[in-house]
């Protein structure tokens, strides 16, 4: 059964897909936006501290559910089927808005050097590190568009390392927390350059929605006051309002359909009733996040594309990255906790680049509010695990500790990859993603360095004791919510999957718009970059469509 033909079908309504849907719908294209999850509301999880996207010991509040397993292959080659609640699964929310419904909402622009890592640091052994085919300057206007359209608060004017911006952020930062007030002078004394983290969160009423009321349940949860800005409450409603965008939830795309001439003709998907549907379209945009986007391309096999779409040179699914998180927790003699959410508010970018002994680095920032279970279940060496000592520790330090953490820019590795599993299938009979690989030695050097810097910052801030994160394990692939890299953007079709406009090299009406296209993932949370690339790719898409006189 086939449905009414449309100009564009977009698979995935997260940070990338949501933006593309709005841009295309506003340009007058007819759009079908397919989302595998539901359109959740805050009532669905009601600030459940054991069942959300950050702490999912009792389940993921916003998906995916157990009908979507994956296969994980560890360093010794042992493979196992993992459900979405396991760390090894590398889960990202499956719902309208994707991760942006429940994220912490840090809104970073990558730095200029992040687009030029190879030119800056040279080749790195064991890594496929390369420059991007676009520069920071190419993306700058689109970063700005994302900041103003979706809404970012903060103040990075004290960040001397930031890439130049033409326009300030649209909203001021939230007033500082106690942690902020403790950490800021300490950083300054150390000669660092602390500033207010840019966040996709209303600090004042903006875009018709109210301001953050500073509750303690932010990252991992849906916002009850709608102050957290995701695609679900900004661009997607705008797209729908144009009348050109049809959002269909609980639709599982099986494959991208292609013609005999090698062009994409639409997608085949299972609708919410489990019926197989075919949606034909002039162009197909894949925005499922790095693991699922690669899986969809690999699962779309045909005579012309026996190894999957875009995979002529075996690059789809390669270079799976995420972020190695590291830092330290400082224990204080005085109370540091003031119950003002979201918690994270101050950062330094002094260690993103220019460190000696390893490539790149990452930001350091204070952590989001750690809810009691998160705090109590911390298993860092040096903290009692159970018994009276543990209870005393939690009671003594829950309100008197600060955690400083940061994401280390990982080195892309060819063998860290997404494949489709030859045996295991999901509920719909579609082969699942199979994750395998390892991390680069550089990630370990970088994280050790960053934890030491976090420790120094906390000590300077007056912590009586500082406990550093343990060394990261290099076994197994990275990924997680910051997953990226599997459909690399590049000029050479032999060493990349999409061109600089996110178009798959050998299928001229198929696009991948999400973190998959990042050749490397920055020492930053990647969401604003995903949004900026989505605006940038959409602008080009709309331009070329007009040139073709389409519709």
């Amino acid at each position: 059964m086939s449905l009414k033909h449309v100009n564009a079908v977009i698979v995935g309504s997260g940070a990338g897909g949501g933006v593309v849907a709005k841009e295309l719908a506003e340009a007058g294209l007819s759009v079908v936006l397919l989302e595998r999850g539901k359109w959740f509301t805050p009532f669905d999880e009601r600030k459940d501290d054991l069942r959300n996207q950050r702490t999912c010991v009792l389940g993921n509040a916003f998906g995916p559910d157990e009908r979507n397993p994956r296969v994980y292959v560890d360093a010794s080659g042992h493979e196992r089927i993992v459900p979405p609640t396991y760390g090894a699964y590398s889960n990202n929310a499956a719902c309208v808005g994707g991760g942006t419904l429940s994220y912490g909402a840090m809104a970073w622009r990558f730095m200029e050097k992040d687009f030029r890592l190879r030119s800056t640091y040279g080749t790195v052994e064991g890594s496929t590190l390369d420059d991007w085919p676009i520069t920071y300057e190419d993306l700058e206007p689109y970063y700005e568009k994302a900041e103003w359209e979706i809404g970012v608060s903060g103040d990075d004017s004290n960040n001397i390392f930031r890439a130049p911006r033409k326009r300030p952020l649209p909203m001021p930062p939230l007033p500082p927390t106690r942690e902020h007030q403790i950490l800021k002078p300490a950083a300054q004394r150390l000669g660092l350059h602390p500033f207010d983290i840019p966040m996709l969160r209303n600090s004042i009423p903006y875009n018709g929605r109210g301001a953050c009321m500073r509750c303690r349940w932010c990252v991992g949860f849906a916002c009850e006051v709608d102050a957290k800005c995701g695609t679900h409450n900004t661009v997607i409603p705008t797209a729908i309002k144009t009348g050109n965008c049809d959002l269909r939830c609980e639709c599982i795309v099986r494959e991208i359909l292609t013609s005999d001439r090698g062009r994409a003709t639409g997608v085949a998907y299972y609708d919410s009733d489990g019926r197989l549907q075919e949606q034909s379209a002039d162009l197909v945009v894949v925005s499922c996040a790095a693991i699922e986007s690669a899986r969809l391309l690999l699962n779309s096999k045909s005579r012309l594309f026996p190894n999957g779409l875009g995979n002529r040179y075996d690059w789809v699914g390669r270079n799976l990255q995420g972020h190695a998180y590291t830092g330290a927790i400082g224990l204080f003699d005085r109370e540091t906790y003031d119950d003002l959410g979201p918690g994270a508010s101050i950062a330094v970018c002094d260690f993103n680049h220019g460190n000696s002994g390893f490539v790149s680095g990452g930001l350091l920032a204070n952590e989001f509010i750690r809810l009691p279970y998160q705090f109590a279940s911390r298993t860092t060496a040096g903290i009692p695990r159970w018994g009276a000592a543990h209870k005393n520790f939690v009671r003594r330090y829950y309100r008197s500790s600060i955690s400083v953490m940061g994401p280390m820019q990982e080195m892309p590795i060819f063998d860290s990859r997404v494949q489709v599993d030859p045996k295991v299938k999901d509920h719909w009979g579609i082969p699942v993603a199979r994750l395998s690989g390892h991390r680069h030695q550089n990630d370990l050097l970088g994280t050790n360095f960053m934890s030491a810097k976090a420790e120094a910052w906390l000590k300077e801030a007056g912590a009586a004791t500082v406990i550093r994160s343990g060394p990261i394990s290099l076994d197994g692939p990275s990924g997680g919510q910051h997953q990226a890299g599997t459909c690399r953007m590049g000029s050479d079709p032999k060493t990349s999957v999409v061109d600089k406009f996110c178009r798959v090299h050998d299928v001229d009406n198929l696009y991948v718009v999400d973190g998959s296209v990042h050749p490397n993932n920055g020492g930053f949370n990647p969401v604003l970059t995903i949004m900026a690339i989505a605006y940038y790719a959409s602008a080009n898409l709309v331009k070329t469509r007009k040139g073709m006189g389409a519709t």
Binding site: F43, D44, R46, G210, D226, G341
Partner: protein, 371 residues
Amino acid sequence: MTNDRKFLRLRVIAPVLLILFATFLLPGASLYYSYSGGKSCTKCHEIWQPYRDWHDSAHRNIACSECHGDVLTLDAGFHLKNIRQLAAHLRGKIPEQVRLKTDDVLQIEKRCAKCHREEYASWSAGPHSASYAKIFLSKDHNTQTLLMDDCLRCHSMHFQGSIRDLVTPLNKEGPWRLTDSRLADQPAIPCLTCHQMHRHGDPLARPPATKPDDAGPHEELARPSLALFDRREQDYVSLDRLPLPQMHEGTRLVKISPDRRQALCYQCHAPEATAQVGSGDDRTPIGVHEGLSCFACHEKHGQTTRASCTTCHPQLSNCGINVETMDTTFKSLKSSHNVHTVKCINCHTKGVPEKKGKNHEGQEVSRRNPA
């Protein structure tokens, strides 16, 4: 032929069964329920916990059926729901916790009124009896503030669903309507917002014929039923667990009354996270009224404040002006002197004179009036 006969037989048998059912089973079941005081229902039933709580509650002398209905209740929807629950129970789909649905809460509301007439009348006349329509379809509000899930924290907190399921469309243009129009006249802040029926307590003795005049911290404090219905937990948080804030005026710590009952008020008439007096929806009194409990002036069910000044004040103030005719919002809502924040200096702009007078125990005191 055989099919016809089968059909005929069905037509005869079905009504007979129905009549038998109505004559024997229903009253029988009713008797079974009422005879054991509800205990029989709990034998194999997920309502064990509520039953146990009820048994220790102030309402222990009131049968389950008084509030929850029984087999003789004339409401098809009620029975349908029970049958669905029974079916689920038999299939082994047993809920961990039995919760009141939107409809149940509104049903129970009417039953409260049967006994608590005075309280009900007072609540009905006051602002807390605002209907769903008044709260959610207000043009003044909706054109300025986008409706959001957090609205349901303090209004219609028993509604089972998101704001999206309650009001449509969710924009600032309108016109808005309730998805379920039957809710329009229902109260958005029903009794069960602040009262937990099954909470531990003793049956109330007859209240004294006249209530004491000195409302405030000395009055009989928290009724055991006082608890907040927390929408996130879908459960009550009892008064003793609810926080009372430490309020600030700038950097100054503001004195607030120790009256625990205010913890309920503060949940919704709440300051912003920084706990500044007057921020958000806060009404913490400062100035001449600092330290007073909400209940010193506001009647607990009706929230009326009329005639409340004289419960504390001698009619004439220090300046010889009748306190109720002073230029405050008590006299007129248009006044710029909010009773919650008014200070002597607001009228005595050139400085507050020192005043000698007698305190309530009759001793001579000289005091500087609070600025």
